[in-house]
C-alpha cells in the first residue's frame, strides 16, 4: 500500500479537484479514481505527441499558436495570450488550458469507452435477443405444429364423437324398435294365448259335457261301508243358515287372529313401556347433578319446570295405562325433552373429557391468557414499527433508484467496485503476509529474550562468585588493599547467596538453554569487565533496579544488531520491545 501512495500522489493532486465532484457522486474513493485516470492517460499521451509533431514546426509556430488560441477560445477556454492584443503567451493560462484539454480528453475518452462498452453490451444483447428470437421462432413453429396436430386430433375426436353419437342414437332407436317389437309381440302373444285358452276352454267344456253327461258307469265309488266322520257328527245340510254360520265362523277365525295379534302387540307395548319407564327413571336419576346448571340459565327454566312436572306425572303409575292420544303426546314430549337434556349433558361430558385430555396444558393457557394479550399487543406494535421501517426503506430505495436511473453509470459503478475489491484483496493478502512475518519475528524475539534472561542470570552468578572469590583472596592475601569496590559488597551481600544457588542449578540443566549458552563462559569475562565498569557509574546512585534496567538495554542493543541482519525494520523491533518490557 505504501508503494502505491508514493507513486500516485503527485499525479493525483491536480486531477483530483476536477474528478472529485464526479467521484463523490458515485461514492468512490479518490485513490481508485485517480488510478483509473492514470492508466487511461498513459497510452493517449503518446498519440498526442505524434499529433503535435506533425502540426507545429519552427516556421509556423506563430500561426499554430494563434490557431490554437482561436480554437481554444471557440472551445470556451480563456485566451492563451497574456493580454488580449499582445503576442505574449500566458504560460499559466496555457497550462490551465492544457489541463482543461487533458481533462476534456479524459472525459471524452471515458465517454468513448463507455459508449464502446455500451455498444459491446448492446451488441451482445442484440445477439442474445436474436438468439432468443430464433428460439422463440422455433418454439412458435413447434407450437403451431402442435396446435395443428391437436386441432387435427380434436377434429378426429369430434368426428368420432359424432359417429358415436350417431351410433348411440341408432342404438337407442334400435332399442326403441325392439321394445316396440317386444311389446307388440307380447300383446300379440297375450291375445293369441287368450284365443287359445278360449278354444281350450270350449274344448274342455265340450269334453266335460261329453264325459259327464254320458252316464259313466265307471265313474263310481265302491265302499264297503261308509265310515263315520272324524268329529263324530253328522253331515249337515247345506242351507242359508249354514252359510251364515260359515261366514260367522270365518269372521270368528279372523277376529281371533286379530285379537291374538293385538294381545301380542299389547304385550310388546307393555314391555316397551316398562323399558321406557325404566329408562325415564334412569334418566331422571342421572339428571339431578345437571339440574343446578340449567337453573342458572333462564332459557332452560321452562324445560326444567316441565321436567319436574314429568317427574310428578311419572309418579302416577296409572298414567301408563292411559294409552290415549293426549297422554301419548305428553309422554313423547316429556321423553324428548329429557332426552335433549341428557344429550346436552352427555355432550358436555364429552367436551369435559376432551378437555381433560389436555387439562394441564389448558390450565397453563388460562393463566397466561392476560400475558398473551400483552404479548400480542407488543408484537402488534413491533409489527407496526417494522412496517414503518420497511416503508421508509422502500422510499429510500425508490429515491436511490430514481436518482441514478442511468444504466451505464450503474454498470461503471459495478466495474469500479469490482476493481476496488480486487485491489483490496491484493492488499489484504500482502497485509496477511506481513502479519505472518511479524508473528514469526515476535516468536524468535521472545525466545531470544528468554535466552538473554537466562544468560544474564548466569552472568550475575558468575560475577557474584568471582567477586566473592576475589574478596576472599583479597582478604586472605592483603586485607588493607580492599578499598576500590565497597559498593559491590554493599549491594550484593544477599543476592550472592542466591546467585551461588542458581549457578549450581544452572549447571544441572544445561540442556534447557540454547546452544549459544555453551560458549558463555568465554564471553562472561568480557561482560563482567564491561559491567564492572558500567556498574561503577550507577553504583553511585545506589539503585539496584536501575542497574537491571541498564542491563536490559544492553541486551536489547545486542538483539537489535542481530535483527538488523535479518532485515527487519527497527520500528517494529521497538514496538516489540515495548511489549516485552512490562
Amino acid at each position: 500500500m505504501g508503494d502505491w501512495k508514493t507513486v500516485t500522489v503527485p499525479v493525483l493532486s491536480p486531477d483530483s479537484k476536477n474528478t472529485l465532484p464526479y467521484t463523490s457522486e458515485r461514492k468512490r474513493s479518490p485513490t481508485s479514481m485517480s488510478s483509473q485516470v492514470l492508466r487511461v492517460s498513459l497510452p493517449s499521451s503518446k498519440n498526442m505527441h505524434s499529433f503535435f509533431g506533425a502540426f507545429c514546426t519552427e516556421e509556423n509556430i506563430e500561426q499554430s499558436i494563434s490557431y490554437i488560441d482561436r480554437e481554444l477560445t471557440t472551445l470556451g477556454f480563456p485566451s492563451i495570450y497574456a493580454e488580449s492584443r499582445g503576442k505574449e503567451l500566458n504560460l499559466i493560462s496555457i497550462i490551465n488550458c492544457m489541463n482543461g484539454l487533458l481533462v476534456l480528453q479524459h472525459k471524452n475518452l471515458r465517454a468513448q469507452e463507455e459508449v464502446e462498452m455500451q455498444h459491446l453490451k448492446l451488441g451482445s444483447d442484440m445477439d442474445h435477443l436474436q438468439n432468443c428470437y430464433a428460439k422463440l421462432k422455433e418454439q412458435l413453429e413447434l407450437s403451431k405444429r402442435e396446435v395443428v396436430g391437436l386441432q387435427e386430433r380434436d377434429r378426429q375426436l369430434q368426428s368420432k364423437n359424432r359417429n358415436l353419437h350417431q351410433l348411440l342414437k341408432n342404438e337407442k332407436d334400435e332399442v326403441q324398435k325392439l321394445q316396440n317389437i317386444i311389446s307388440s309381440r307380447a300383446t300379440q302373444y297375450n291375445h293369441d294365448m287368450k284365443r287359445k285358452e278360449r278354444e281350450y276352454n270350449k274344448l274342455k267344456e265340450r269334453l266335460h259335457q261329453l264325459v259327464m253327461n254320458k252316464k259313466d258307469k265307471k265313474l263310481a265309488m265302491e265302499v264297503l261301508n261308509y265310515v263315520g266322520r272324524a268329529d263324530g257328527k253328522r253331515g249337515a245340510w247345506r242351507t242359508d243358515k249354514t252359510e251364515a254360520r260359515n261366514e260367522e265362523e270365518m269372521y270368528k277365525v279372523l277376529l281371533s287372529d286379530y285379537e291374538q295379534r293385538q294381545k301380542q302387540l299389547l304385550l310388546e307395548n307393555a314391555e316397551l313401556k316398562k323399558v321406557l319407564q325404566q329408562m325415564k327413571k334412569d334418566i331422571i336419576s342421572l339428571l339431578p347433578p345437571q339440574k343446578q346448571k340449567p337453573k342458572e340459565r333462564s332459557e332452560d327454566g321452562l324445560v326444567l319446570s316441565d321436567q319436574e312436572e314429568d317427574i310428578g306425572e311419572l309418579n302416577k303409575e296409572n298414567m301408563w295405562e292411559l294409552s290415549c292420544e293426549t297422554v301419548r303426546e305428553q309422554l313423547t314430549n316429556s321423553i324428548r325433552k329429557q332426552w335433549r337434556i341428557l344429550k346436552n349433558h352427555v355432550e358436555k361430558l364429552d367436551n369435559q373429557v376432551s378437555r381433560g385430555h389436555s387439562g394441564v396444558l389448558n390450565e397453563k393457557d388460562v393463566i397466561s391468557r392476560a400475558d398473551h394479550e400483552l404479548e400480542t399487543e407488543k408484537l402488534e406494535l413491533e409489527i407496526q414499527q417494522c412496517k414503518e421501517m420497511i416503508k421508509t426503506q422502500q422510499q429510500l430505495l425508490q429515491q436511490q433508484l430514481t436518482c441514478d436511473d442511468d444504466d451505464t453509470t450503474l454498470l461503471l459503478q459495478d466495474c469500479y467496485l469490482l476493481e476496488e475489491r480486487e485491489r483490496l484483496q491484493e492488499e489484504w493478502r500482502l497485509f496477511r503476509e506481513q502479519k505472518k512475518n511479524f508473528e514469526k519475528e515476535r516468536k524468535s524475539f521472545t525466545e531470544a529474550a528468554i535466552r538473554l534472561g537466562l544468560e544474564r542470570k548466569a552472568f550475575e552468578e558468575d560475577r557474584g562468585a568471582w567477586l566473592k572469590h576475589q574478596f576472599l583472596t583479597m582478604t586472605a592475601d592483603c586485607k588493607s588493599e580492599n578499598v576500590t569496590t565497597p559498593s559491590a559488597f554493599l549491594r550484593s551481600s544477599d543476592p550472592d547467596v542466591c546467585l551461588v544457588k542458581s549457578a549450581s542449578r544452572q549447571k544441572k540443566t544445561p540442556s534447557v538453554l540454547s546452544p549459544t549458552v555453551s560458549p558463555e563462559p568465554c564471553q562472561i569475562a568480557q561482560y563482567i569487565t564491561q559491567n564492572s565498569i558500567a556498574s561503577e557509574k550507577p553504583a553511585a546512585h545506589n539503585m539496584p533496579n536501575l542497574c537491571v534496567e541498564s542491563d536490559d538495554k544492553e541486551e536489547t542493543e545486542e538483539c537489535t544488531k542481530s535483527w538488523e541482519d535479518s532485515g527487519v525494520g527497527t520500528l517494529l523491533c521497538r514496538n516489540l520491545l515495548m511489549e516485552q518490557l512490562p
Binding site: K217, L224, N246
Partner: protein, 448 residues
Amino acid sequence: MNFSELFKLSGLLGRFSPDGKCLASCVQHRLVVRDASSLQIRQLYTCLDQIQYIEWSSDSLFVLCAMYKRGIVQVWSLEQPDWHCKIDEGSAGLVASCWSPDGRHILNTTEFHLRITVWSLCTKSVSYIKYPKACQQGVAFTRDGRYMAVAERRDCKDFISIFVCRNWQLLRHFDTETQDLFGIEWAPNGCVLAAWDTCLEYKVLLYSLDGRLLSSYRAYEWPLGIKSIAWSPSSQFLAIGSFDEKVRILNHVTWKKITELDHPATIASKKTIVYKEVEKSPTVDTERLSFPPTRALASSLFSTKSKYDISQVPVSLQYIKPVADRANPKVGVGMLAFSADNCFLATKNDNIPNAVWIWDIRKLKLSVVLEQLCTIQSFQWDPCQPRLAVCTGSSRVYLWSPAGCVVVQVPGEGDFQITSLSWNSNGDSMLLLSKDNFCVCYLETEEV
C-alpha cells in the same frame, strides 16, 4: 345313530303317518304298512295296479293309493284291514288325488283339470269344483283344516275360491290381479293367503281369509321372477326365492321387505362358517383284516368316506353358469325352508347346486354354508328342533345343527343313493329314500 336294513321301494313312495307311529311304503302293486319303530309289517295291501301316489289321512287311519294310469284311487283302512274303497274317475281320467284335512274326503283332479271331484267316505255325496287352474300349487288347505283355497281360471282370468272344508260350501270367490297365477299358499295361522304370479312376472299378492287384498309386492319388473315361496311357522315372515339368486323376506305387519338375502358365489364374511365336505380315503388297518373278509368290511374298504372341513373365508363356491336359451334355467333360489323354531332359513341356489345356505333369521345374516361334493337333492328341517338333514344322491346323510354338522355314512352293501328324505313328526327318526330302497335312520336322543 342307528340305521335299519334296506327295504324295497318303488317310486319313492314311503311315508310316515302323521302321528309318527306307522310307515307306509309301496312296492309295485303292494302297499306295506310297518310299525315306525320296530319296522314290523302291520298291514299289507294289494292294489289293482302299480301305485303312483300314496297319502296318509290326517288321522293316520287311512291311506290312499292313486293309480293315475287307470284313473282309480284305492283307500285302505288300518283299523279295519278288510275295509276297502275304490274310486274310479272313469273316462274323465285322474291327474292328482289328495285327502281333505278331515280325512274323510278325497279330492281328485281329473285330466285336463276339468274339475275336482270331492268324494266323501262318510256319505254318498259327491261334490264338484269346476275350472280348477292347472298350476303348480292350485289347492291349499289351512293348517287347521277348516278352509281350502282353490286357484281357478275362467275367461282368461285368475280367481281364487275359498271353501269351507266341513261342508264344501263356497265362502269367498274373488279375482286376482295376476297374469297367470302360479301358486297359492296359506300362512300357518290360516288367515293370510299368499298368491304368486308366473315366473315371467315378479308378483306376490296377499289376501285375507275374507278375500281382501292385504298387500302386493313386486321386487322388479322384467327378469324372471319368483321361483319358490315359504312361510315361517310363526306366519311372521314370508320368504320369496327368485330367479335373481336372492331371497326376500316380507314381514306380516306391513308386508314390506325386511331384508334381501343374496347368494354370492364367493363368501367373504368372516362371520360365516363354511363347512366343506371333503373325501378321505379309508385307512386300512392290516392287522384287523380277516380272510375271507366280511362283506361289510369289504364294502367299507371300497367306499370312500367323507367329512366336513371348515374352510377359511373367503371361499368361492362351485358355480354353474346357467344356459340362457333354455326354458326353466337352473338359476335362482329353488328351495327354501324355515326351521321349526323360526330361527333359521335353509336355501338352495340352483346355480350353486352343491351348497346349502343357512341363514340366521334373528340376525338376518348368513350363518353357515354347507358345501357338498354332489348336488343337493333334498333337505328338510327336523319338525322339533333346529336340525337340518340334507341328502345329495350319495349314500351319506348330512345333518346340521347350530352345534355343528356331521356326515353319516349309511351302512350296508350295495349302492344306496339317497334322493329324498323325510322326518318323522316326532323328530326321532328319518326316512331315507332312494330309487329302489329305503331305510329308516334313528337318531339318538340328546341325553345319550
